[in-house]
Amino acid sequence: MRIQCPFCGERDLSEFAYLGAADLSRPDPAAADADMRFFAAIYVRDNPAGPHHELWYHASGCRSWLRVLRNTRTHEILAVSFPTPSGGS
């Protein structure tokens, strides 16, 4: 598996560290149901078989966080971008 870093170019998997699913945002701690929202954000995952938005860190490169769309059935990298504050790419 090689990841096309937008800054460094295509690099080997060994340069990257994996965090997990993208699009998990920190819930509002003041919300009435904050405990269940934190439970969902921290523990519950879609875990799809197929395209999966996820966050990788280019640890041995430019040290950017990357938002990667990858097929979990084939390991094919479908899209790579820098994450945006809104979560999309």
């Binding site: 598996m1 080997d12 998997l13 060994s14 560290a17 994996y18 997990g20 699913a21 405990d35 269940m36 439970f39 921290i42 523990y43 519950v44 995952r45 879609d46 875990n47 799809p48 078989a49 999966h52 996820e54 990858r70 979990t72 059935r73 084939t74 390991h75």
Partner: protein, 416 residues
Amino acid sequence: MRYSIFNLVRQALAGHRGWGPAWRDATPKSAYDVVVIGGGGHGLATAHYLAKVHGISNVAVLEKGWIGSGNAGRNTTIIRSNYLLAGNNPFYEWSMKLWEGLEQDLNYNAMVSQRGVLNLYHSDAQRDIYALRGNAMRMHGVDAELLDAAGVRRMLPFLDYEGARFPIRGGLLQRRGGTARHDAVVWGYARAASDRGVDIIQNCEVTGFIREGGAIAGVETTRGSIRAAKIGMAVAGSTSRVAALAGLKLPIESQVLQAFVSEAIKPFIPGVVTFGAGHFYISQSDKGGLVFGGDLDGYNSYAQRGNLPTVEDVCEGAMALMPAIGRVRVLRSWGGIADMSMDGSPIIDRTPLAGLYLNAGWCYGGFKATPASGWCFAHLLARDEPHEVARAYRLDRFATGHLLDERGVGAQPNLH
């Protein structure tokens, strides 16, 4: 037919033409008392104990492919009960006790071999944490011995003691641990369950659930609808996919774990050895091949194969620990899809949907748990209450904070 020396002699004299199939390859009926989804070790063990312990034999085991084609055929065959936490240890020890009587129970040679599991430590801090674990084991009545470097050297003189970057200081030994033959476990459970009337149905993929009111009343499969009062899921890496058919989202990520086997060599490694300064574990099969593995690849995957950085990491671990095997050639490597739970411990529990029960989250440690997982899941399905040794494996523990995190790394599945 019962396997015994007398039947072996009788069949030998008859030219071995009388052996029947070990189990029935059944066609599905329209309804059962219990349907177990997943024809791996856990699902078949569940069916066996449902029939044997609870007298419920109107049971079907549904398997998408062929039995044992998933993680039951992809593990490194290690059995052990060297766990620290009070919620885990009695469960794995019950599993070890079932392993010890398994072949007599199933009348099947599962090649259970208590050749010992040795976890090496390489620093004072690691010795202390292993001493803690060993003491916890002994308080639960499990055997554990803390060896010093000289003790390890007497057992395994061929490890690298001289030039190692992380010198071996000793190890925690569980002599009752060891290995078992993975395929034989699957076939032994299948045969025993089938003999008691359980239907084992292959090439039968679950494609949906039949709902009645708020409850689950059956499954839709590629071989038709099957109704059942109770449905148990034991599908390991596919847990999230099958649960999604019922509209459930679970605290599980599917990740790939690779394993390796070398060409066969003469007897060399007497038991199971794990390297404590990296992540590498190895044993030698009865056929002579070195069976070994290491870390997860560390990302979500359903591909049943991994990538080269992990292969390199595992082989570096091997060379750091026992350089003597450096010239042995690797025959095969493969990947299994581990259902990594968010705290590294399993789930055996009811689901929010009446009639649907969950057995999942085995991470990369499901093989050793096979007998107790089946025993406790059968108990839950039959009596609607958790078995005593599996009480901590609740699905709601993530919401309530009663986590079972052996490694203490938090909700980061690729670190468990």
